[in-house]
Symmetry: C2
Subunit: 401 residues, 2 copies
Amino acid sequence: MQEEFSQLFDTVSEEETRSRIKAFRERMYQRSIDYALVQVNVNLFYFTGTLQRGILLIPLRGEPGLLIQKAVERAELESPFPVRELKSMKQLPDHIRDMGLAAASRVGLELQEVPAALFEKLRTLLGAGECVNISEDLLRVRSRKSPYEMEQIKRSAALTEKVFSAVPDCLREGMKEIELAAALQAEGRIAGHQEIMRMRGFNQELTNPHVLAGTSAAAPSFADVPLAGYGTTAAVAQGASHRRIARKEPVIVDYGGGYNGYMTDETRSFALGGLESELVRAHTAAMEVAEYVERNSGPGVSCRELYWEAVGIAEREGLGEHFMGYGRHRVRFVGHGIGLYINEYPLIGDVEDTLEEGMVFAVEPKFVFPDKGAVGVEIDLRVTENGAQRLTGTPLDVVYC
Amino acid sequence: MQEEFSQLFDTVSEEETRSRIKAFRERMYQRSIDYALVQVNVNLFYFTGTLQRGILLIPLRGEPGLLIQKAVERAELESPFPVRELKSMKQLPDHIRDMGLAAASRVGLELQEVPAALFEKLRTLLGAGECVNISEDLLRVRSRKSPYEMEQIKRSAALTEKVFSAVPDCLREGMKEIELAAALQAEGRIAGHQEIMRMRGFNQELTNPHVLAGTSAAAPSFADVPLAGYGTTAAVAQGASHRRIARKEPVIVDYGGGYNGYMTDETRSFALGGLESELVRAHTAAMEVAEYVERNSGPGVSCRELYWEAVGIAEREGLGEHFMGYGRHRVRFVGHGIGLYINEYPLIGDVEDTLEEGMVFAVEPKFVFPDKGAVGVEIDLRVTENGAQRLTGTPLDVVYC
């Protein structure tokens, strides 16, 4: 397995994982957390390079302990950390004691994600003095990407470019949304897309790509997104549907790249044989918003100000009611961080948040017309000391096929 | 939206949802639960036909209340239930009072799935006397499928048949596992697969299909499955990989159908140009196990006995060490229920469980050889009063391409 594994996989360096743990420990120190118990798959992966089933114990000081229940041999290949076997959860207190940690400590857990029943079990097992929620701290640490992470994100963005460039060859009048979605999904998968998309939040899931033609793009949704589509069933309630694509209607393609854990998220608009002028005008406004955010992003910039400027552009064009959804279905943001989840920090919305160097986010100005569908773009931006850098070279204009 | 929606979607009948709620209430009564709060997307869908964001309140007696936060209009189209708007979670106690429910009640919640932080918030909000876990009750109720559910499951099984029949046309020497996976995924999606696969359990995810050639099938995994594969990254750690498919090695295709919420789960073995005799012999033993379980399943049959008989067949063939994984990586089951999750009740394993009429399960005898890969089959069976009924007509033999 070892030889085959090393041919197929790229693994993270020990230095990289240690610097991530260091950044998290600064937050532990500020919150007087004695040790943290990391279990959510993406967080485990972030700190150790593996998401085999287990727990990472991070004491405020001293060596972290990677305890794996299943599969130990694989975790050893994937992670630079020494792996200890956790034969059963009952052994956990012994490991904690072996690491010199006191029972009645202040313990950090991912309470936003860990199920209530599991948490109860752990609390009893640990006999912890106090349990505090570290979910937000982890998101904050993860929001600034390292150069290594940027490499992965660029590979994910390259998948996105590839998929968008395939649309004109695949799009045909009368085909179903799901047919175009299937063709584009296959393009990405063959190029190495990881298939799994991860969205933060209880009950959140993601189909990929979203191919929404005409009025499909106006279907309201449970998700906090400007457009979601019908999907093929109420049991999924998002994404491409059986609806057939007609001429002269907008076809929105929202594609999430996924490479080595990292997601990117871009959208382009397509149409067969032209679009009516109101939609063309709205698309131009969307490009204007995206370019405004690109030009004005940089370390220290207020997310709230960016958001209200974006709303301002939409309103000046008389399109406020259509911006980021229609009417009461509008969402109150124009962008969101991307990374191991497709929805990370920062939120470019009406919130107190500030751009920092190393952050990566998608800005997605979209306009929804209930009887016509949606137009708009979504581009991914990296915050550097000199401003924002776009991650793909795919043009923003409507592509007429 | 309404017209388009009704053309695109099939919705569940009120009668169907009411009979499901009735079955659940019998369990509430046995456990003295005053009211239940259902929030997990598949459970919401099961009882109401919609999984728009919200809560279903089920009192032991009287009308259930479907409270929707987002999107109300869509939930109204999807569900036969009257929808009440839940403007914010803070309104929840008012709705509970309006339904005539006492504050200090015994309340059922899905504690196996609801995150700890959300549970804390709800507990405070409700001022509930006692909170009990209803996750297992819901799984038990869901384990017996209605005729309507069987129709959906059959549509899902039909997707599976279609995908397996496409393998010989797609499989070529030297192609990557992900290339075959992409082609098969597209086949299913075009035929109406819902794309989203759901696996029960914290951190559980599912790529689909699993295309595992040769030694890929022997890679150990965090998941409770006999085979999982490498995947394309440690951040996913399952499924098809960049490994190229060679002649004379087994190619396992494990495909999950997905139609209107319902998953099916079947596996077939393929090979280019033949297989060595040990693998052929193992595959024959796998067919024998599957056919044994098929012949001997029916209401009242012990799952534990079925499991040990399956192990017995493997051991008589001298293949015990290779059955359902290799060595210490073997899993201790040979089948599992399917439905809104791919892993439901019953478990055909070393557990106390009994087959009931209306249950649907997959039986998946597989043999893993660390240096050669895996062979085996997986078939879906429906338990009827007269025994088990197979859901697809796809033959079980190795397909030589």
